[in-house]
Symmetry: C2
Subunit: 156 residues, 2 copies
Amino acid sequence: MAASKDPRPCSIADTLALVGEKYSLLVLREVCLGNGRFDQLVRNIGAPRDILATRLKRLVEAGILAKKMYSERPQRFEYRPTAAGLELESVLMTLMAWGDRHLRRDDDRPMVIEHNCGKPLLPVVTCSVCGDEVRHEDLTAHPQAPGWTVSGPAAP
Amino acid sequence: MAASKDPRPCSIADTLALVGEKYSLLVLREVCLGNGRFDQLVRNIGAPRDILATRLKRLVEAGILAKKMYSERPQRFEYRPTAAGLELESVLMTLMAWGDRHLRRDDDRPMVIEHNCGKPLLPVVTCSVCGDEVRHEDLTAHPQAPGWTVSGPAAP
DNA sequence: GGCGAGAGTTGGATTTTCCAACTCATAGAG
DNA sequence: CTCTATGAGTTGGAAAATCCAACTCTCGCC
């Protein structure tokens, strides 16, 4: 899914080129939960089997998943996240947090993640230097490559 | 983009149903940078104009963007993020961080975001309760709704 | 020998995307 | 006043992706 026509160089776009296609991030969700078998994926995600097969190939190529044999005879496989794949879990967590906040009435969350501090996880994106929560108004974009113009931060 | 066939209830899936289609998150990127005009979006994203028009309608409907008039005669519009849209910026930051880490050699990042603490932003997802960085092995999933089975955390 | 599970493939119908060209309103140049 | 340009989209048809049900192939088990 390369973003067509001479777009800006951008790590967001490049990452989405790998995981931005329909179902890809849901595959990662399942795989992070330990549900890495083909038929589990089909059932839990509700994706067509052929599309799923395509996505899995792509994610393995990209080094986000690894295909592991869990039974030799009969040959059976399972997909697991690589280290790089696990790092994408933070994307899933922020997506889930947003959905829980904006798409659901109160506390009917379909899933709660428990952090090992003992509390339900409410993930927050912070600056690794100062530790503060990242807020739009505290950010300034500095394009490093040609092709970028920034009109100044957007206010709602 | 509803994930077909009776899938699991899931806030990740629901959020992706709104912003998971091709170009949608890139639109959000541009709009967060303040580049909210139609032709800017076309140029910076490299998306077909008709698709972009469709995405914009959807994002406005979803309450992620708002369409504002910035000139009455001639009538000219601009898209801006709503508060909910701005909250999705954390997703963009985590995607960018992943791409910078895994898809680029060293320090040729196409864009550096400066945090108002004065340093280049390196975003980290943390637990809002204990403040620790969120790592896969510290998480336990607790399904709240039917349709979920979890095989236990996945190891790479 | 037949049944069933797991992990995919295959072929054809349906949807989306893509692309270039077109519209429409207005502003400014000559 | 005509001509060109700009912004913000629409339109129509070709090309690509998706969806779906059915099929394959390999074993293990009763």
